[in-house]
């Protein structure tokens, strides 16, 4: 059973990845709420993931071009797993910070103590 892959090429995926990446960076830069920064990180990671999968996809691999093959997919897999772990730890820190300072405002987190 064959699948025709129309005009979509790796470049399209890369552009979408780029948009997600820049949105993530902007979100991290703009947001004052610690959770907003966390969401920015998630977006950045997803942008990267998209590129990995795009390069590793057997659909988009043109003839004779060095495609990542399975490595792309496995890399994306590990990124998703570790992003989950990272989010857990980041949230634990944010909530403890909230608990001590009653605010998650990133600008107020200026003293190193506590």
């Amino acid at each position: 059973m064959l699948i025709a892959v129309g005009t979509v090429s790796v470049a399209h995926y890369l552009i979408v990845g780029a948009i997600l990446f820049t949105a993530g960076i902007a979100c991290m830069a703009v947001k004052r709420n610690a959770l907003g920064v966390l969401m920015g990180i998630e977006l950045v990671l997803n942008g990267a993931n998209l590129n990995f999968v795009a390069f590793g996809s057997s659909y988009l691999a043109g003839e004779g071009r060095a495609s990542l093959g399975l490595d792309g997919e496995v890399m994306a897999l590990f990124v998703i797993l570790l992003a989950a772990a990272e989010a857990a730890v980041a949230l634990a820190i944010t909530l403890n910070f909230y608990n001590n300072h009653a605010t998650v405002d990133v600008d107020r987190a200026d003293d190193l103590r506590g």
Binding site: A26, S58, E73, V89, L91
Partner: protein, 236 residues
């Protein structure tokens, strides 16, 4: 009768074949990018979380489109089903009314905008520059199955031909797989430690009672008799 029906449809809808793959790609890409930008723009942190869910869901769709179904399902389950639920919990715990929408001063926003635009320009230029990446993918490709990925994670590469050259045998991913599982275990224990019950619940009434001695010996009816006023002459 079929000829006129055929004529009618072709007259009505000029293009012969829609490129489904492209159509769905545009749909999911639009949702993903739109939601991502909305995440940046909205101030209400709960709305941000919702847009993030939409964006990551659409990215999962893109993964399905790109043929890696396992990664798409994994993204839906782990990322959207797990990480974002965690994030929303965090939002719920901290989103008291005054914290819900913190606004950054206008100067920083402009600066961030310029930075983002510059970064975006660089990325797009590099994405489009390589000619090989612009050519559309292979015409016919067999439907994806998760078995090669599963086998690869066990260390046996069954998709040798995909890599194009037999000289260098491809290495499986058993070692990184084990490392990640141990890593997750460590994170699990760390998170559990951070979130351990901080405050003992006030001692349950059960413990209170256990310390109290049994009820005083109550005389049965024969000794006590009916209750009568102690002032009555015959009081015991």
């Amino acid at each position: 009768m079929t000829e006129c029906l055929l004529a009618a449809t072709t007259w009505l809808l000029p293009f012969a074949a829609i490129d489904w793959h492209g159509l769905f790609f545009l749909l999911f890409a639009a949702i993903a990018c739109g939601a991502a930008i909305m995440v940046v723009l909205t101030d209400n942190v709960v709305r941000m979380a919702l847009h993030l869910v939409l964006s990551l869901g659409a990215t999962a769709g893109l993964f399905f489109l790109a043929g890696s179904e396992f990664v798409g399902a994994m993204q839906l389950m782990i990322y959207v089903g797990g990480t974002l639920v965690l994030l929303v919990f965090g939002v719920m715990l901290t989103a008291q009314t005054q914290l819900v929408s913190l606004r950054t001063p206008a100067a920083d926003r402009v600066l961030a905008g310029i930075l983002a635009a510059a970064l975006f320009a660089v990325l797009v230029q590099s994405a489009v520059s390589v000619e090989a990446w612009r050519r559309p993918g292979r015409a016919e490709v067999s439907a994806p199955t998760a078995t090669p990925l599963g086998m690869a994670l066990l260390g046996v590469r069954v998709d040798g031909d995909a890599a194009g050259h037999e000289s260098r045998p491809l290495s499986g991913y058993l070692l990184p797989f084990e490392i990640v599982s141990v890593h997750l275990l460590v994170v699990l224990i760390g998170a559990a430690y951070l979130a351990r019950a901080k405050r003992r619940r006030t001692p349950r009434a059960v413990e209170l009672v256990a310390s109290v001695d049994p009820p005083p010996p109550v005389q049965t009816r024969s000794e006590a008799g009916e209750s009568a006023s102690v002032l009555v002459g015959g009081g015991r």
